[in-house]
Symmetry: C2
Subunit: 414 residues, 2 copies
């Protein structure tokens, strides 16, 4: 079973908004055995929308559309689709009541333009939206289906989960697909590919597909199989994934979109260990990554962000003379920062980083991208110097990921 997605919105075509809906939709459809073969983004223009829908329906039976359903005048999807399916708009009392109580719950009065959102095509199946005011619509014509939803991500997800996913599974016959992703950190894609050449060649005879998905510091390696019997697909993909992991054990940190902070959090919790951080160049980003994980209060105590010299010495008890002599970005200073964490937070583990994120602040012997990092326990701190790049945001992120990966290795005694 194949579907296409059409995303409607000028804001995407001028690059002001990044389309995140298609990725989420594709994942959810995949779980149902529906493969997305194409995503098309078109402008908020009636003719463009109609053309894209006609083309998509010439290739597939299911088209999922997001965007252009807001209350404001630039949103024209509903009128366009009602015309396209030769239907007419009628007032849905139940939807009107829902919109009304949506505003009441927010302590606000309903506006006329929101009232118009209860005008809906008479023959479409409606999925009620309890997170906003634009309803979901399911159009049918000669076995071809078009679904239309608002572009606001949490409203779209709400409509899919409470209505459309079940409706799709019921209406269409779907086949099976199984994906598994091995998450790696610390090596580039061609070096990984070189190490696993023979194994990669062996995938063809099992009909398993491999994709390399590189991003900053990490390469995700996705294994996929398509077919009828889900358990057969799962068995061969998982067997191949285990073979892969035996070839590059030190690079694999997790599976299926797991983040380094989730993995580290799981290990800290399981081992009943605690952590706190002292951050200079990352400015709280390591703390943020750690605390993004639900339940992190069970192992995360807190952090010092000491951006200025003064705060490093006054708050973290780093010797002021040491900072002057060695510089804030130095082995002695990060080790002293790491020890300051133990003194104040009394945790099992400590992470301390100090570096030059850029774009300014570099010197000849310490160029932008130089980072000192100390990770470990009271008994054993591992301190290293890294040289990342010239981009401030990437330096912040690479420093944080590298620190979390070092902590992961220590927790696993690798």
């Amino acid at each position: 079973m194949i579907a296409e997605i059409i995303t409607i919105g000028d804001e995407i075509l001028i690059g002001q908004t990044i389309d995140t809906n298609s990725a989420w939709l594709s994942q959810e459809l995949n779980k149902l055995g529906v493969r997305v073969s194409r995503v098309t983004t078109v402008a908020d223009e009636g003719e463009e929308i109609k053309k894209a829908l006609t083309e998509a329906h010439s290739r597939v039976d299911l088209v999922i559309m997001t965007g252009g359903l807001g209350p404001t005048n630039d949103d024209i999807t509903k009128i366009t689709l009602t015309e396209y399916f030769q239907d007419e708009l009628v007032l849905h009392d139940e939807v009107l009541e829902g919109i009304n109580s949506y505003f009441t719950s927010k302590g606000k009065a309903m506006l006329p333009m929101n009232r118009d959102q209860a005008l809906l095509p008479s023959e479409a199946k409606i999925v009620r939206n309890f997170k906003g005011t634009a309803s979901g619509m399911w159009f049918e014509k000669q076995g071809k289906v078009a679904i239309s939803m608002p572009g606001v991500p949490y409203e779209m997800k709400h409509l899919m989960v409470t209505g459309f996913l079940d409706m799709i599974a019921e209406y269409f016959e779907t086949s099976s697909v199984f994906h598994f992703t091995v998450m790696t950190f610390g090596e580039g894609e061609s070096f990984i590919a070189d190490r696993i050449q023979d194994w990669e060649r062996s995938l063809a005879q099992e009909d398993v597909k491999l994709a390399y998905l590189p991003s900053l510091g990490t390469v995700k390696m996705r294994l996929s199989a398509f077919g009828e019997d889900k358990s057969v697909l799962e068995e061969k993909v998982m067997r191949k994934a285990a073979e892969l992991e035996r070839l590059i054990p030190e690079l694999v940190y997790g599976y299926n979109e797991e983040t380094l902070s989730e993995v580290v959090g799981r290990l800290l919790f399981k081992n009943n260990r605690t952590i706190a951080t002292a951050e200079s160049c990352t400015g709280g980003y390591i703390a943020h990554l750690l605390t993004t994980v639900p339940g992190s209060s069970r192992y995360y105590e807190g952090s010092f962000c000491t951006y200025s010299y003064k705060s490093k010495s006054e708050i973290l008890d780093v010797d002021a003379q040491m900072i002057i002599d060695q510089g804030a970005v130095s082995q002695d200073v990060v080790e002293s920062m790491a020890n300051g964490v133990f003194i104040h937070f009394d945790t099992d583990y400590s992470i301390a980083v100090s570096g030059i994120a850029g774009p300014e602040g570099g010197t000849e012997d310490k160029p932008v991208g130089t980072v000192w990092m100390s990770v470990g326990t009271k008994d054993k701190l591992v301190t290293k110097c890294y040289h990342f790049g010239r981009n401030r945001k990437n330096n912040i992120r690479m420093t944080a990921y590298t620190a979390l990966n070092e902590l992961r290795k220590q927790l696993l005694e690798l």
Copy 2:
């Protein structure tokens, strides 16, 4: 002048990667006066790529393609396009040398699969890639152009900036476009639309387009005009933007993708003021937002992330009995945290937040999403309680944005 973008990659169609390239490309093309009318994402399959390119070239003269140029076996764009344009691959010595020195600079030996990346179509114009190993290619056929670049964002940007943008401007005659975006925080799109109805109606007679772009807490309002004379477009868009700002002055925090932390940073620097933060539920996210801005060390001193009760009282000197009596999420505790910041960092401004980010930790009188926040100077702290939602990540973000917006208002004496 109109163009289309084709994004190639299974990873996008299964939702594992979000396509951020198209947004960046659209913005850059817009600046040249090239409007993107459609973005299509297709699989790493030769037939799909050819079909999408044929269709796109039937509508427009310029097609920009990203993805599928890596060294690994799943990348087939180069071979497909070489076939499509009836060309053949030849070894480019200069490119081979470049790839070689790319690996030398990383202290690694070149692999055979990277050597193959120097095989390029003989008639295509090549843009050298100094950030990676896949070259950019410019194909031409009967006045129709196709550009192919790797999908790794910083390599793609590098190729556009160092080569293709100029080549496009030279090859095509481009018309003018002017966009200006007014950034607002704190009110939903329909309430804004209601307040500016008459003004919005007045846009039609000036041929200025308005789009509402809502995301968490913010609504971006984009004004656009298309035509020949750029100065005419700019004059009318800027005049309309000034009118808009007069209608909703308290909501407007900036322009053209400016972030709250950039605006706050600019104001702190201009007024020669400093800031530090004490964060519980945001776990360093406010510090991270502040320090993402280059040059933030000029006004940002540091932060305490005090996640545990113990760290709040030991590090921030919050009375332990007060935490027991009032709870960590209370007016007295955040004010005490804010004062702890002044004591330790001696800054002009302080931000302190404590709340229940969720999904756990809520109680009947303090449900998930409850946040106390104290922002201000030693002489005047403004302390408020907010109720955000149930989503942990959104609560962290809304808390941080709201705190920064409160600081902005104080800095502007609003």
